[in-house]
Symmetry: C2
Subunit: 187 residues, 2 copies
DNA sequence: TAGTGTCAAATAACCGGTTGGTTGCATGCT
DNA sequence: AGCATGCAACCAACCGGTTATTTGACACTA
């Protein structure tokens, strides 16, 4: 096998993403990550410094990936919510990583990728309101908060309630999209 | 200092609630809990068995406490959402514990306290729908999921977005209550 | 051979859980 | 009452295993 630092880095990131999604920062095991990546533990420290920094690298990459595959469209929030739901259901790691980030890293400096992505969304929402595409009853940040939390609704409920959730995804999707539509409807 | 098993048990539960809320199950340190409770580590194992069971005890108590202080009212969901938001903002540990539970304990047997509390809510929702108090466009579990996720909206935002959140709580509360109202409004 | 990547092994700290014994209190006997 | 006895509550010290992180030797390549 040829030597390829970039390839090793990438394998490490992928393995770490799976590990962190499953166990969180405190629960993640460095040995497992190295083994899953098919390389040695020391590589983590050579490439990323330590476990926390590795998590930041994983999460920043995830933010960029979501932004790329689920572009934000302020002019059609119901559809955006539906596409977010698709992403969450196709790749549950996305939401788990974000949740762990919120729970376990509230002290660290805000990640630039996240701040920037929020700023862009808020500006687009403000413009859409000025253009009359969106109602003005909620401020941009209120709108964004509601839409995001509704699109996570199914994923953020207690497992016990999940047992009662509709089996077919199309129905869950409809619920979310319909709810966002109602929030935006004129009186 | 008189010996008092009940009192010790209670102090242990309180200390554990704070510790688990802050660090989760994997991150929680048994030694810290014992020290904060002003008693010995061995008491934890005598009273609760192990760390996981201690968490279950803490979480079950929390579920009962929320159920008691924020009674569910299927006939006035907007108000219920508002009261839930109050609870989450007054006692952030509530939601953090629930989130840790969801992330770290998806394998264990469902907690009876949670199952029962869900069952009651779903039945009340179904009755309210039959009585025409609630619209029938969403099923009970869909309705509950939407209401719960909206009431958690502000708390489940990424910290970076939280910086843009409205400073005054009354405004956040209004956003949540208003959103639930719109979901239930007749066409 | 100089430089970079790789890994097994070592290390030091840490953590969940156990053990054996001590302390205070209530009960019942003299 | 005074005292012995049994028991529940409590704790310091310890144990085996695990974890994040470092190191030093080795291998490949240019």
């Amino acid at each position: 096998m040829a030597r390829d630092a970039d390839r090793t880095r990438k394998r490490l990131l992928e393995a770490a993403a799976a590990e962190f999604a499953a166990y969180g920062i405190a629960g993640a095991r460095v040995d497992r990550i190295a083994e899953a990546a098919g390389c040695n533990k020391a590589m983590i420290y050579a490439y990323f410094g330590n476990k926390d920094k590795l998590f930041d690298a994983v999460f920043s990459a995830q933010v960029a990936d979501v932004l790329k595959h689920v572009p934000f469209d302020a002019t059609d929030l119901p559809s955006y919510a539906g596409r977010l739901l698709d992403r969450y259901e196709d790749d549950p790691a996305t939401l788990r990583l974000a949740t762990w980030y919120r729970l376990e890293r509230p002290q660290g400096a805000p990640l630039q990728a996240v701040v920037a992505s929020n700023q862009v969304k808020l500006e687009k929402l403000e413009r859409a309101q000025r253009d009359g595409i969106l109602p003005g009853r909620y401020s941009p940040v209120e709108l964004l908060t509601l839409v995001l939390s509704i699109s996570q609704a199914w994923a953020s409920m207690t497992p016990e309630l999940g047992l009662n959730a509709p089996a077919d995804r199309e129905r869950r999707r409809h619920t979310v999209v319909d709810a966002v539509q109602r929030l935006l409807k004129d009186d």
